[in-house]
Amino acid sequence: MTLFTTGADSLKVVAIGALQVVAVFAFAPLLTGIMRKVKARTQKRIGASVFQPYYEISKLWSKDEVVSDYSSWVFRSAPWVVALATITAALFIPVFVPFSPFSAAGDVLLVIGLLALARFFTMLAGIDAASAFGGIGTSREMMISSLVEPGLFLTIFVVSLTLGGTDLTSLVGAAARSGVVIAPSMLFGLISFFIIILAETGRLPFDNPATHLELTMVHEAMVLEYSGRSLALIEWSQSTKQLVLLALLANLFLPLGMPTSIDVGLLPLGLGALAVLAKVALISVLVAYVETRVAKWRLFRVPDLLTVAIASAMVGMIFFYL
């Protein structure tokens, strides 16, 4: 049984995978902190420290938990499934180096599948506590996710057509080799992927991560009944998912600074990792800035924006073929 069939030897593979996932897990809350800070500053507030999400997670970690009598084991297990699926997905994505350690085992479609599994359990948990708030959240998420999925798949379709295949190591490698991607298909793919990421990570104008108002909340409504450690796990997973998706956006569409393969030596790899961090920080500043400029959209206008994402990916596909 050959478990790892890539060129690198398996020890190196596991080391890179472990290092990367630890780094992702460690940096993810920082990214959330930066976004909140930028948002506060553009709104002329001072805002909390960028390390605030870490304090919150450690606070939640030592708090007691309240679990509703009405809920079942599905509610109790959902945060663990979400965390497990998100971290596993993070293992399959080349975040800091142009190499996905386990690309012999799974590709970008597996990543989409794992994130969908996490979402599936979050939605179930929303219903489980029998609260109408959870129902609202799940019901809205059902509509949004059913439109996000085709957008995401079509974007992957465009990327896969342009760069070849669904294997993440070779996709990121191909993107890095082509330098700045100016193929029209990729430009339209970028537009659609950006919209999809806003929806997927629950940012404005789809969802407001900072609200607990029943008119507007989607993700927060689903996890409203959670407290203590379960909530800490969910928040941490949400930050991780955000970092991973933003890194994927940077690595596929803005490959500037990324070395073309893993065999270039430590210095270029380190520089590449720094470049990824810088780009992700830049994109998150952009997202935070967008958040201060737009209002939350009315729920039934959300499909319009998602349709724009789907249409944009479609145009990208047509550009590729013609």
Partner: protein, 689 residues
């Protein structure tokens, strides 16, 4: 000694025993044992037969046991790889359904005849197995009709309900339209080859003109598509499946639809054989109808609140995905892209197997719920995860599988379908490339809606609090039913984690080299090759490795939690959900299936044309501020019934009304008809050169 040729007669004998034995008993319990134990045993034998054919790779031919006085009317059996693969599907599902039926038939004890259910079920499964084993038109149509009639009788099993009779009639009419089209397809082949044997159809495959090919294909697609439930011939499906007893629904949806797919595969790949780019339109037609069916099916399922109807609509969806894969395979075959054709065929057939298993499981789970709560309306369920924990677990497994989420079997076949869609760039025709691109939008939308719908199906039925007294008092299903579901549920896991089992079966059935799409090792990955910008890359998916990695992540997470971050010792308190200070929550404050799907209904309103009417009653007409009652009814329209079938039915009835005027009831006008007919026949004879 070779036992193989003895297996098929043994299977037939056992099923016939299962059909006849219950007639000898009077006690419902014994009737059930006498019919379902033989059914389970012979289904297991069917699995053994198909597995041995697939493993040996050689077809099994049986000399006809019936005297061959008229060669074309004899019974002729030939189990090749394709037949064996579909036989495997039938055997696997009917084994678990037969075990399940032992307990499930208890729900009818005293109300309906258990022996009728048992006998018909045996005949139904037997006829499906024989359809996949026949080798000429006569025996094929014979068992096909037997299958249709047995399933019709099972649909109207609860005949005291008028809706069941109506859906039975719809089913009967639609299935016979299908049979007529299939017969027409076979007749065209008969006129070309002068024989009714499948062997001569196969050997003549290369010589058919493109027109004949196209005609046979279209007739077969429409005919078998009616049986499989392709849109727009699907209308019988959401009526018939909910009407039938749930074990029969599991068989109809899991297996009988696959027999329709079997026919389509047999005709398309065996008799028509796409070989030149000119045949690609057939594949495109299947891609278009397949993706359309998938989307329409899942859209209707997403707003449905009757659990069995929702599952039936999901069958339409999954059949769409299967036909989409098959169509891609035909497109690739037409352009000589053999490895891609193998990939798409593998995706399609793998999904057939998967759909049989998880849809069988889901219908069995729905049956348990129906048995214990007495309702199929999800708005009257809820909280069942505590009352029926095992049923809930199995239903969750089925839901994750059908939603196409890792690590279960639905994900693997949908991964393969996606890879086949992504590979369509290799087809050297821009129209086809773009059409397949658009089909993949429909496919992706289907996947998104499917997973949202199963959140609703599982969440509303099993989670939160009971919405009715019946749901509150529900108890776990009997052990035999759980055993049947355990079998199907573990198949979902095995087929997901060890794709090699299914891929090698499909490769052996269709005789392609498994190395085209997968490694030869049992634990090795599925692989698809790509080429772009002069570079080659391989996309791979290895479920055993994914499982190992997930396990490692889980262990690391647990280690992190216990070693690094224990923190303060925390306490978990149990409390009721915060009710906002309004007093105890009752079930009316919960979300229902209808309210949960409201945003989807309004996002796709141009399709559903939702119609909501509010009726208010007042105490007095002068004062409209104080209402006596408010009632809201909300419904969605059936586009196909409103705009296709109703006009067609009206037109047919109008024509028949005209025709009826001929039948005056006066003897002299009938004499006139006879005279006119005779004279015109004589003229015809005389004028003929």
């Amino acid at each position: 000694m070779n036992f193989l040729p003895m297996l098929l007669p043994a299977i037939v004998a056992l099923f016939i025993a299962g059909a006849l034995l219950p007639l000898a008993f009077r006690d419902p319990r014994r009737e059930a044992v006498a019919s379902f134990v033989p059914a389970a045993a012979s289904s297991l034998l069917t699995v053994a037969l198909s597995a041995s054919v697939l493993l040996s790779g050689s077809a099994l031919r049986l000399s006809s046991p019936v005297v061959e006085a008229i060669p074309s009317m004899s019974l002729s059996f030939y189990v090749d790889g394709i037949g064996a693969f579909f036989m495997l599907i039938i055997g696997l599902v009917s084994t678990s359904v037969s075990i399940y039926s032992l307990g499930y038939s208890g729900a009818y004890s005293g109300k309906h005849s258990i022996r009728a259910l048992g006998s018909l079920l045996n005949l139904f499964v037997l006829s499906m197995i024989l359809v996949t084993a026949t080798n000429n038109v006569f025996s094929f149509l014979l068992f096909w009709e037997l299958m249709s009639l047995a399933s019709f009788l099972l649909v109207v099993y609860e005949h005291e309900k008028e809706t069941n009779l109506r859906s039975g009639i719809t089913y009967l009419v639609m299935t016979h339209i299908g049979t007529a089209l299939i017969t027409a397809a076979f007749l065209v082949l008969y006129f070309q080859t002068g024989s009714l044997s499948f062997d001569s159809f196969r050997s003549a495959a290369g010589q058919l003109s493109s027109f004949t090919k196209g005609l046979v294909f279209v007739l077969a697609l429409a005919g078998f598509g009616t049986k499989a439930g392709l849109v727009p011939m699907h209308i019988w499906l959401p009526e018939a499946h909910p009407s039938a007893p749930s074990n029969v629904s599991a068989l109809m949806s899991g297996v009988m639809l696959k027999v329709g797919i079997y026919g389509l595969v047999r005709v398309t790949l065996g008799f028509v054989v796409p070989s030149s780019p000119g045949d690609a339109w057939m594949g495109l037609l299947m891609v278009v109808t397949g993706s359309f069916s998938a989307l329409v099916g899942v859209l209707y399922a997403s707003v449905e609140h009757d659990i069995k109807r929702a599952l039936a609509y999901h069958s339409v969806e999954n059949i769409g995905i299967i036909v989409l894969g098959l169509g891609l395979s035909v497109v690739f075959m037409s352009f000589g892209l053999q490895s891609l054709a193998a990939l798409a065929l593998l995706a399609s057939m793998y999904h057939s197997l998967n759909h049989a298993v998880f849809k069988g499981l889901l219908f069995m789970g729905a049956g348990s719920v129906l048995m214990r709560t007495g309702t199929a309306d999800m708005n009257r369920m809820g909280g069942l995860v505590k009352k029926m924990p095992w049923t809930a677990l199995f239903f969750l497994v089925g839901s994750i599988a059908i939603a196409g989420l890792p690590p279960l079997n639905g994900f693997v076949s949908e991964w393969l379908t996606m890879q086949a869609l992504l590979s369509s760039y290799q087809v050297p025709n821009v129209v086809l490339q773009l059409s397949i691109g658009f089909a993949s939008i429909a496919f992706a939308l289907t996947l998104g809606l499917a997973s949202a719908t199963f959140v609703k199906l599982f969440g509303i039925s099993f989670l939160s609090r009971p919405r009715s007294k019946a749901a509150e008092e529900a108890i776990e299903a009997p052990k035999s039913m759980l055993a049947g579901m355990t079998l199907a549920g573990s198949l979902c896991v095995v087929l997901g984690v060890l794709p090699f089992v299914a891929t090698s079966a499909v490769a052996s059935a269709f005789g392609f080299d498994i190395g085209l799409v997968s490694s030869y090792a049992p634990f090795g990955p599925l692989t698809v090759g790509y080429a772009a910008n002069g570079l080659r890359s391989v996309s791979s998916l290895s479920m055993p490795q994914v499982l190992v990695i997930t396990g490692a992540v889980g262990a690391a997470l647990l280690g992190f939690v216990t070693v690094v971050g224990p923190g303060r010792k925390t306490v978990t308190r149990r409390y009721t959900t915060w009710e906002g200070g309004f007093g105890a929550l009752d079930e009316r404050t919960e979300y229902t299936a209808t309210s949960l799907s409201q945003p989807i209904r309004s996002a796709f309103r141009s399709f559903f044309r939702p119609h909501t009417s509010v009726k208010r009653e007042y105490y007095s007409d002068s004062n409209h501020l104080i209402k006596r009652s408010v009632s809201v009814t909300s419904e969605t329209r059936e586009v196909f019934e409103d705009h296709l079938y109703s006009p067609a039915l009206r037109a047919v009835v109008a024509v028949l009304d005209r025709v009826r005027r001929l039948q005056t009831g006066r003897i002299n006008s009938y004499l006139l008809y006879i005279m006119v007919a005779t004279i015109s026949l004589l003229l015809l004879v005389v004028l003929q050169p």
